[in-house]
């Protein structure tokens, strides 16, 4: 079944090849673009991102993409931010200074805590590897996690994490040392994964599939796949 067009935003940050490969493997109708006009007209948007927060915001700004993204989100169409792409959705980041984000979701991006050397909860940073994502107790039934068992193992690769003002934004979280990492988030039509669904084998592919089939209000179709 072909779905509506997904627009993958290319703003020169990180590699889009794997996100595109995953979309192809899922037989999704997608388009990668740098064009603000295409972004404005998208049915749904994937915002990937690897690297540092500030240069990424700078590139979105230089590419004239911030206003189209803001308008898109306001219109209620679904957006999925991946890794740094998810962090950019928040108000501010403390990565190498203090920087403004897209501010679609109130909250800030902070560095992971290593933990005390004496405690056995000390962890290495970056957080690289597969970790278990548990669902929040009041997790809604319709989300990108639909149809997946809980917990799921997914692939993380990051040093910073988002801390939403409203804890209900967090649909799935993982423990890493003393950190509770917001791993799957949803704020109305805005979705985010701190991990890399495109690198998380079958579980990750299912998340991308679910996103491609969400309706504008953030719920999935029921039945009829």
């Amino acid at each position: 079944m072909k779905t509506q067009s997904i627009v993958v935003i290319d703003y020169g940050v990180g590699n889009l090849f794997n996100v595109e490969s995953a979309c192809k493997a899922l037989d999704l109708d997608f388009l990668t673009t740098t064009d603000p006009q295409v972004v404005s007209n998208a049915a749904r948007i994937l915002l990937p991102g690897v690297g540092a927060f500030r240069p990424a915001m700078q590139r979105l700004h230089d590419g004239g993409l911030i206003e189209p993204l803001r308008n898109f989100v306001t219109s209620g169409r679904p957006l999925l931010g991946i890794c740094l792409g998810m962090q950019l959705l928040f108000s501010t980041s403390e990565e190498h200074g203090s920087w403004n984000g897209l501010n679609f979701i109130p909250g800030k991006v902070v560095r992971l805590h290593e933990g005390a050397a004496a405690s056995n909860s000390q962890v290495k940073i970056p957080h690289i590897g597969w970790n278990m994502v548990n669902r929040s107790p009041d997790h809604p039934s319709q989300s990108v996690l639909d149809g997946l068992p809980a917990p799921i193992s997914v692939y993380f690769n990051h040093s910073f994490m988002a801390v939403p003002v409203d804890p209900n934004v967090v649909l799935g979280h993982c423990s890493y040392g003393e950190n509770s990492v917001a791993s799957v988030i949803r704020h109305n039509n805005i979705h985010g994964c701190q991990f890399h669904p495109e690198r998380s084998a079958d579980a990750g592919l299912r998340i991308l599939y679910n996103f491609a089939h969400l309706d504008g209000l953030g719920s999935t179709h029921t039945g009829g796949y």
Binding site: M1, G14, N15, F17, N18, S21, A22, K24, A25, L26, V50, G51, A52, E114, V123, K124, I125, P126, H127, I128, G129, W130, N131, M132, G147, L148, P149, I152, S153, Y155, F156, N157, H158, S159, S175, Y176, G177, H196, E198, R199, S200, A201, D202, A203, G204, L205, R206, Y209, G223, G224, Y225
Partner: protein, 307 residues
């Protein structure tokens, strides 16, 4: 709680093929990289390393095409190393679908390459491989795929690469490579205790107990397996490698590969490697208290099957 411990497959690449040697010498072709990588992905591997074995030696890297092909059907992280000497080299393999780049020779010869790579692509995608072996009783860092020794001490070099921005370290013990006699626990534990980034143990896995040993007696966060998986999946190639054209297992291989394995590397050494599947390793680790990733099976809604 930390991450799941990763079980990583390493493919030593020459042209389109996977090769394997002993102590980085005497390499034989085992099959195509495409076929083995696909088999490992389907078997639930956590990550795959592509190590270009000749790029560093001949100062070229043309592994990008291979990665591009792999990345279209493999949805676990791919790390690529061999002959990466510039930001452009790194960009090439990252654009082809690699998630991480592995630096060794390039970083030893020009340490600022690590800083530049971390600045450009982020620490999370810069991995430093430290190839090490003792010479006159002292551990040293080796370069050029184990052909040349440097003056660097592996432990202080490890600390330096982290300070320069490496996000992960692979410790590759040259004398243990391909031997199947276990990891070099000494140097791995020395380094793993000194650095703040994840450490990957490589070289020497011959049976699943070796993987458990290194995870228990050092603070390594991942194990690399080569021969154990290669031999398992090649021996079971009719199931494991359905896409492997049969002629590739004959014609292009430089000598009768299966006979070669069966005879113990041409008969001059006993093979210590026990062919083992990805699942057998993971189950064994899990039974012994190591947290590993459990893959979920066929999660996509399939409209051909009624739900």
């Amino acid at each position: 709680m930390g991450c799941c411990t990763r079980v990583i497959a390493r493919l030593d690449i020459k042209g389109p093929n996977v090769i394997k040697g002993l102590q980085f010498e005497g390499h034989r072709v085992l099959g195509t990289a495409d076929a083995l990588a696909t088999a490992y992905y389907r078997a639930g591997i956590d990550e795959i390393i592509y190590q270009d074995t000749v790029a560093s030696l001949y100062q070229r890297s043309n592994i990008a095409e291979l990665i591009k092909r792999a990345a279209t059907g493999i949805f676990v992280p791919i790390a690529v190393g061999g002959g990466l000497r510039s930001i452009e080299d790194m960009r090439n393999v990252l654009r082809a679908g690699a998630d991480k780049v592995i630096l060794n020779t390039g970083a030893v010869k020009s340490p600022s390459l690590i800083d530049a790579g971390a600045r450009e692509f982020g620490s999370q995608c810069i991995v430093c491989s430290i190839e090490t072996a003792r010479i006159n009783g002292e551990y040293k860092v080796w370069v050029d795929y184990g052909r040349e020794v440097s003056s660097l001490d592996p432990v202080s070099w490890a600390q330096e690469v982290v300070n320069r921005g490496a996000g992960e370290i692979i410790i590759n013990s040259l004398m243990h490579d391909g031997m199947g006699e276990g990891f070099d626990l000494d140097i791995i534990s020395q380094i793993a205790e000194k650095v703040s980034v994840p450490v990957v143990a490589s070289g020497g896995a011959g049976k699943r107990e070796h993987c458990l040993d290194v995870l228990r007696s050092t603070s390594a966060n991942a194990v690399v397996v080569g021969s154990m998986f290669h031999y398992h999946y090649l021996q079971n190639s009719t199931q494991a490698l359905p896409q492997q054209p049969s002629h590739l297992l004959g014609g292009e291989i430089d000598q009768g590969n299966f006979d070669f394995i069966k005879d113990g590397y041409g008969g001059d050494r006993a093979i210590m490697v026990q062919p083992t599947s990805v699942q057998e390793v993971k189950t064994f680790l899990s039974e012994n208290g190591i947290v590993v990733r459990t893959a979920i099976s066929s999660p996509l809604p399939d409209h051909r099957v009624s739900e």
